[in-house]
């Protein structure tokens, strides 16, 4: 009896495995490739029709004291013009993290123009900001722009350099920190911020054959987009923007309200408990 049950169970497993195989294969065949927001490589262009492409000239080229710097972009909520604000983990769309940031690392470009390299990069359609350069968050003022599916968006020229006064391009000649910050550290200068200068597109270079079918649109760069320092890095403001003005004046009460949002409640509570303990210890000593 037990033997025949085992046989029947084994047979049913085998049948299940056999019948499940075609369904699995069909699912595999239907599998959608994951979105990858990557810089296109000359000679190896693979386009994704779900994306838009950004044309950018990035420079200046690496020099002695100025290594080539990467530029980071973040997708923001077009409706609020602010970073996406998901209340729960379930609110985060599938593959959101694959579609919400792009980094461009200088490397093999599609040619040079005025000392900058030409790059084409896959962007998920939506509103984007130039979020950071190297280790610096452009939170004090940057630019936003829109990318549409199936279009090449020309965002112009991004000039980026360390703020050591040796950028080698006139647009960033004033990007120099005080000498004590510029000379800080022995091996790594942790207080050296990076500068960004944005020049809107003028002439569009000849597109690679694979992109020629797409319309090229000059991006409308919306200036002075402010961000929180969500990259938790040094901060800066694009050098191509007007000077940073004063913020809105604040009364003491308004400042207290602002700090209540800034200070993490658990840290406030921990500080309160520490103060209580210290008071108790002081009382026992008396």
């Amino acid at each position: 009896m037990i033997g025949s049950f085992k046989k029947a169970f084994a047979l049913s497993l085998a049948i299940a495995a056999l019948t499940a195989q075609p369904a699995y294969s069909a699912e595999k065949a239907k599998k959608v490739p994951k979105i990858k927001l990557e810089t296109l490589k000359p000679g190896k262009i693979k386009l994704d029709n779900r994306l838009g492409y950004v044309l950018v000239r990035l420079g200046p080229k690496a020099a002695d004291k100025n290594p080539a710097l990467s530029v980071g972009f973040s997708r923001i909520d077009g409706a609020t013009n602010a970073p996406f604000n998901f209340v729960t983990m379930n609110d985060i769309p599938k593959d959101f993290w694959r579609t919400s940031s792009v980094g461009i690392n200088p490397g093999r470009s599609f040619g040079d123009v005025d000392g900058t390299g030409i790059y084409y990069v896959g962007f998920y359609p939506g509103r984007w900001v130039i979020g950071g350069v190297g280790q610096t968050c452009m939170s004090l003022g940057t630019y936003s722009f829109d990318v549409k599916q199936g279009e090449v968006t020309d965002i112009g020229t991004l000039l980026v350099a360390r703020e050591n006064g040796e950028a080698g391009v006139p647009e960033l000649k004033d990007a120099k920190l005080s000498q004590d910050l510029a000379d800080f550290g022995t091996m790594v200068n942790i207080v050296m911020s990076e500068a960004l200068y944005v020049k809107p597109a003028s002439n569009t270079p000849a597109l690679p054959a694979e992109l020629k079918a797409m319309p090229v649109v000059k991006a409308t760069l919306t200036p002075d987009h402010r961000l929180d320092n969500s990259c938790a890095s040094l901060i800066n403001r694009a050098a191509s923007l007007p000077p940073l003005g004063h913020q809105s004046p604040m009364t003491r009460d308004e400042a207290v309200a602002a700090l209540a949002k800034m200070n993490p409640p658990e840290r406030v509570e921990a500080a309160r408990k520490r103060a209580e303990r210290a008071k108790a210890v002081a009382a026992t000593k008396k």
Binding site: Q135, S139, L140, L177, S178, Q179, D180, L181, F184, V188, I190, V191, S193, D228, N229, S230, A232, S233, L234, I235, N236, R237, P243, L244, G245, H246, Q247, S248, P249, M250, T251, R252, E254, A255, V256, A258, L259, M262, N263, R267, V268, A270, A271, R274
Partner: protein, 170 residues
Amino acid sequence: MKRRILPALLCAALTISATPSVLAADKKDDKPKDDAIAEEIPGDPAKFFLFHLEGVSADQVRGDLVYCISQARPIISMRDRMGSTGGLIGAMINARMGEIDRFRMRNAAMRKCMGMMGYDRYLVPEDMWKVVVNEGDIVLDDNALVDIDVIERMVAFASGPKPAGERLPK
């Protein structure tokens, strides 16, 4: 994930430079000669400074300070982003060094932000700075919180009379 290893434990082991402070309390009335300033203010100009702007209102300074502090507060250092090696001792050393890095980076960020809004940076005697800032730094206190009382004292300094101390590069 951010690494914040044992910073509270290590606070006790801090060896903050205890330079004797021979400082004129009322420099505003009796400004010493330049060479005397150098002798009397042995403090680190990268640490013992405060911002000032001629003719600015207290509310304006408060708004500007809160904005810049909100920008500088989240900064973490490269050490925080990378793992530490060397076991517990290595972790403790790394945590302490990370703390110093964060402090330096926050200061640099405040200099950038306030400097962009036109504020000058003045060297402040160490003991006076400690009264204003209360042992933390110009962004966070020892509990890693932004303290409204510290902001108020910085507001009074920034909107007050021109400081007697040396004006430092932004």
